[in-house]
């Protein structure tokens, strides 16, 4: 039995390696704000959504598979949350009754596993009930397959057979083992057997047999002997304990998988409810293949900013279809970083199958998504800082492939403008020629203007809007790079000096 709500044909792997630039993505795109909104204080949810969001998909097909399931979830949130409760209940039962396989001895393993199986069977019955009542209303391929599987695999006969064996496995009549002589004449190959004749108790049968039977009765105070006999029994039930424990583990891992794969959708539900409260729109994006160059959106907003401010925030409309390079220049504190982040966030959300914070959003998939942001000042010398920036860039080059996306924010400004521009120019030029999509926020005029003057078809230049009176709208408009970044404005505002 497979859950398969994250992929049509495989399990979600919770421990798969995250991209090497995981930490940079989280820091630069404020992903923790997103994760926290989705998790609502639940650590498990946090870990799962973090894993899912960071494990970007590169197949539009799988993205659509998850989008369908998520749409079902948005339509039937109560049923989905009810199913999510089943694996939670299993976890709680285990904790409350100290269930589990804690011992290293087969008879202990057997009895622990038997108890767990009994509990699991009850929960599977509940799951079956929910499937019977609600399967019809779900439309996504993922949920239809899931419900059909439950109804088919867990029929009433099966429940009966399992219950019978769980009783047998208590071995109330003793344990019969076959064995052979191994190395050094030590008993080996202990195998638990069932007697051949069903109608008579096998203990009675022994009494009436012809071939010799030797009996040994332990002295009542022979504790060591009793211990050894117990060990021997353990060897015999070794395999059967293994089978039962593995079965318990399998059902346990089925529930774990169910919890894991639903957790992502529960996180999406949580986020959806919060954005609805802020009256912010959401849209299911249209992912285009990685080889295409698509990016067009309306009212794209920075979801991290909205969640932090707890209010509606400014959105942007841009059409950057067929563009490989987008330069963003202009006023300090004019919304450049926010804009860059909104693109990065939407891209990440789209590529894990989520809705995005916009009215509409089309974009091609990025094989990998990288951020290269200027880092805050630290104790290092300037030259050391530039070195560090280039070191991070080199790490990106180590991992990058064609059709990836790189978001630069004020990169390579830790040296003088001429040198910084020259190095950045070489890097960007090489990336473009290797079919990598580049977004670059900068106040390096020489850099942005250098590209502007090339009049490339596949480049778009955006500028943070600044009205004549110095007021900022936090919107981005198309426009050529300007010589100054209006730092003076900010200075004036902060220090309150009139011009």
């Amino acid at each position: 039995m497979k859950v398969h709500l994250m992929y049509p044909d495989r399990d979600f792997e919770p421990n798969q390696n995250l991209p090497s630039n995981e930490a940079a993505l989280i820091q630069d795109l404020e992903l923790n704000t997103l994760f926290e909104a989705m998790a609502q204080g639940d650590k498990y949810l946090f870990d799962v959504v973090r894993q899912v969001v960071l494990s970007s998909l590169d197949s539009p097909e799988i993205i659509r598979y998850r989008q369908e399931i998520l749409q079902d979830c948005l339509k039937h949130p109560d049923v989905v949350r009810q199913i999510y409760q089943i694996p939670i209940q299993s976890v709680e039962n285990k904790q409350r009754h100290w269930m589990g396989i804690f011992t290293r001895y087969p008879s202990g393993i057997l009895s622990g596993a038997r108890q767990m199986l009994e509990m699991f069977i009850d929960l599977l019955k509940v799951l079956k009930q929910i499937a019977n009542e609600n399967a019809e209303q779900f439309e996504s391929r993922g949920f239809r397959r899931f419900f059909a599987m439950i109804q088919q695999e867990l029929d009433d006969d099966y429940f009966a057979v399992v219950t019978h064996h769980l009783k047998e496995l208590k071995f109330q009549r003793g344990v019969l083992l076959s064995a052979e002589l191994g190395k050094g004449n030590e008993g080996t190959n202990y195998i638990l057997c069932r007697t051949n004749r069903q109608n008579r108790n096998w203990l009675e049968r022994i009494v009436g047999r012809k071939s010799p039977v030797y009996t040994y009765t332990l002295h009542p105070r022979d504790d060591r002997g009793a211990q050894v006999l117990g060990d021997l029994k353990d060897r015999g039930v070794n395999l059967v304990a293994n089978a039962v424990a593995q079965s318990a583990d399998h059902i346990d891992s089925f529930f774990n998988a169910l919890r894991l794969e639903l957790a992502f959708y529960i996180g999406c539900l949580n986020l959806y409810e919060q954005l609805a409260q802020l009256e912010e729109p959401i849209a299911f994006p249209f992912p285009a293949p990685a080889e295409e160059r698509r990016l067009s959106f309306t009212r794209l907003y920075d979801v991290a900013l909205a969640l932090t401010m707890k209010q509606k925030v400014v959105g942007n409309d841009v059409n950057a279809d067929n563009k490989d390079l987008v330069f963003i220049t202009g006023a300090n504190q004019g919304g450049k970083s926010t804009f860059l982040r909104s693109i990065g966030l939407a891209q990440m959300m789209m590529q894990c199958g989520m809705f995005v914070p916009a009215l509409s959003f089309h974009a091609n998939i990025g094989k990998r998504i990288f951020t290269h942001y200027k880092r805050e000042e630290d104790a290092q010398m300037e030259s050391g800082k530039f070195d560090e920036e280039l070191g991070r860039m080199s790490d990106i080059i180590d991992d990058i492939t064609p059709d990836s996306i790189v978001l630069f924010n004020e990169s390579f400004a830790a040296t003088n403008e001429r040198e910084g521009s020259e190095i950045a120019q070489q890097i960007v030029r090489a990336l473009l020629e290797m079919r990598i999509k580049v977004f670059y926020v900068t106040h390096l005029y020489a850099l942005a203007n250098g590209f502007y003057e090339r009049q490339m078809e596949n480049a778009l230049f955006l500028r943070a809007e600044r009205k004549a009176n110095g007021e900022r709208t936090f919107r981005l408009i198309e426009g050529k790079p300007l010589q100054t970044s209006f730092g003076k404005d900010v200075y004036t505002k902060i220090f309150g000096i009139s011009q």
Binding site: E186, Y216, L232, A243, S247, D387, S394, Q426, A430
Partner: protein
């Protein structure tokens, strides 16, 4: 072990060159018929083992190296072999031949498999000594014999298939073949297999209830575990944790198991009578010569295993020529094996160095910036010559090394507060003793002596000592801060450590035979990160 041969020592060299064809081998076997003595020494009278490490071991860090080599082979007590340098080239080449044979990976694998089995034999026999229960004891004795026979047969089989060229292995192979054909071995083989086969056919049932158990013959009962597995199959989710208890090998036998075995012996009396007979008739079956081989061959295995890690990192080892002649000594791309060992699992590269001494040169004076690898070079020089005298391959691409009688080292020591004489006097006493004991055949390695005195004194004393060393005409490496020592006579040559002038923090550890030329690398910072336009395109493409 009787050993008689009329073969003169000098004829060995011609023999070496005759190895190419089997015909030559047969001729050799017939005409000389060399009985096998030892895989380490061709003749019994060459045999020696020192129990103590040589005095210079710590200075050259050879203690770390040898301990690392023998660490995983403690039970063989190999250190004495590594503490005993050989005095003659012939035994060194005898070992080279064996070592080269063992470099064939298949032969190495088979020898290791043999050693594994011999370990088992010893372990089982030790168990037999400890056990009380009659049939368990005899059962393990049988087990030991089975493994022993298997080990011997497999070894001989693989030695016959292997392309063996060394005198050592050829003689051992003949020994082994004769041994296998002996009545003693053949009867052991046949009887052990027969008894084992009949015991293996025994199958019985144990019925365990509260406070008692029963034993009877097995009557085709069905396996219940398989049935249970089927029922729960549909929940399979890929690989599952294995809950099977790992049964302990050769665990202590207890009275319950002994009682069960006694019942089983009553159920199957013939099989156990055969075991009783085997135990009586086959006592003390392990051959002494094979036991010695099993230990001695580990000398080679331990060393080859040790250097394998270095080779996989791209470092070279070579079989050096050795001689008593000082006309020409050299080594290319050698390295300090102790330092390389600590760097093995780090990202830092191991720096290789060359040296050569040609008539009339005797003394390498190493000077130059600190932290540049001078001491490392001096150690390397000592290690190379020492390892060569063990008959081992040495670090480097090619080497001709010196067949020394003794090595003396003088390395800077911590000052001993209990020593009232002061450091300078101490140094001088030590050096005087060294010069007293040293012969023209010795190797001397001096590292920063007189560092604690005034420059003027140091120059004076060094020149005095240098004169004595030159007089002795021995091979010497002298690490010093006094440049002028390097140009005292035609016997001295100068080698210097180097650093990158722009970034002295980066150590090159390169020691070159010339004054520092201040070689600089004016790399741009972007180039360093490989981030120029061309570099990026190259990197993403590949």
């Amino acid at each position: 072990m009787a050993y008689m041969s009329n073969r003169s020592f000098d004829s060995n060299h011609t023999l070496l060159e005759d190895y190419s064809g089997t015909k030559a081998r047969e001729v050799k076997l017939e005409s000389f018929s060399i009985p096998f003595n030892s895989i380490l020494f061709e003749r019994a009278d060459q045999r020696k083992e020192s129990l103590e490490a040589p005095a210079f071991f710590t200075d050259l860090n050879l203690d770390q190296v040898i301990d690392a080599i023998t660490a995983r082979k403690k039970e063989y007590h190999l250190n004495p072999f590594f503490y005993t340098p050989l005095s003659d080239a012939e035994t060194i080449y005898y070992r080279h031949e064996v070592m080269r044979d063992l470099e064939q990976t298949t032969l190495m694998a088979h020898i290791k498999a043999f050693a594994e089995k011999m370990i088992l034999v010893r372990r089982y026999l030790a168990l037999v000594e400890k056990l009380d229960s009659n049939y368990h004891k005899k059962g393990w004795y049988l087990e030991a014999a089975l493994v022993y026979c298997e080990a011997i047969l497999e070894l001989e089989h693989h030695l016959n298939l292997a392309d063996i060229k060394s005198r050592g292995f050829l003689a051992f192979r003949d020994y082994l073949t004769n041994y296998i054909q002996s009545y003693r071995f053949q009867s052991l083989l046949a009887e052990s297999r027969e008894v084992k086969a009949s015991l293996s056919s025994v199958k019985y049932c144990v019925i365990i209830q509260n406070g008692r158990f029963k034993v009877r013959r097995y009557e085709e009962e069905t396996n219940y575990s398989v049935e249970v597995e089927k029922i729960f199959e549909k929940f399979k989710q890929g690989a599952a944790k294995d809950y099977r208890l790992q049964l302990k090998q050769g665990s202590g036998i207890n009275h319950i198991e002994a009682q069960i075995l006694e019942f089983v012996a009553r159920l199957y009396p013939e099989q156990f009578a055969a075991l009783d007979k085997f135990y009586e008739q086959q006592s003390g079956f392990v051959d002494e010569t094979i036991l010695v081989f099993d230990r001695e061959i580990q000398f080679y295995i331990a060393y080859l295993e040790f250097i394998a890690d270095f080779k996989s990192r791209g470092l070279s080892f070579c079989y050096p020529r050795v001689s008593r002649s000082k006309q020409k000594l050299y080594s290319y791309e050698a390295f300090d094996i102790a330092l390389a060992r600590t760097l093995l699992y780090s990202q830092n590269p191991v720096v290789c160095n060359d040296f050569f001494l040609e008539e009339p040169e005797r003394i390498i004076v190493v000077s130059g910036p600190n932290q540049g690898g001078k001491t490392t070079f001096a150690r390397m020089f000592g290690q190379l010559n020492y390892l060569a005298n063990l008959g081992c391959p040495v670090p480097g691409k090619e080497a001709q090394l010196y067949l020394f009688d003794q090595i003396f080292t003088h390395f800077e020591r911590e000052e001993d507060i209990h020593n009232l004489h002061g450091k300078l006097q101490d140094d001088l006493v030590r050096i005087r003793n060294i010069i007293k004991q040293a012969t023209p055949d010795s190797i001397l390695i001096l590292n920063e002596i007189f560092a604690s005195t005034t420059l003027e004194d140091a120059v004076f004393l060094s020149k005095e000592i240098m004169a004595r060393i030159m007089e002795l005409d021995l091979i010497c490496v002298w690490v010093t801060f006094i440049d002028e020592l390097s140009s005292l006579s035609e016997k001295t040559i100068s080698m210097v450590s180097t650093v990158i002038p722009e970034n002295p923090a980066i150590r090159t550890f390169k020691i070159v035979r010339q004054p520092a030329d201040g070689l600089a690398y004016a790399l741009s910072i972007a180039k360093k990160h490989r981030l120029t336009y061309e570099q990026i395109k190259e990197r993403i493409r590949s």
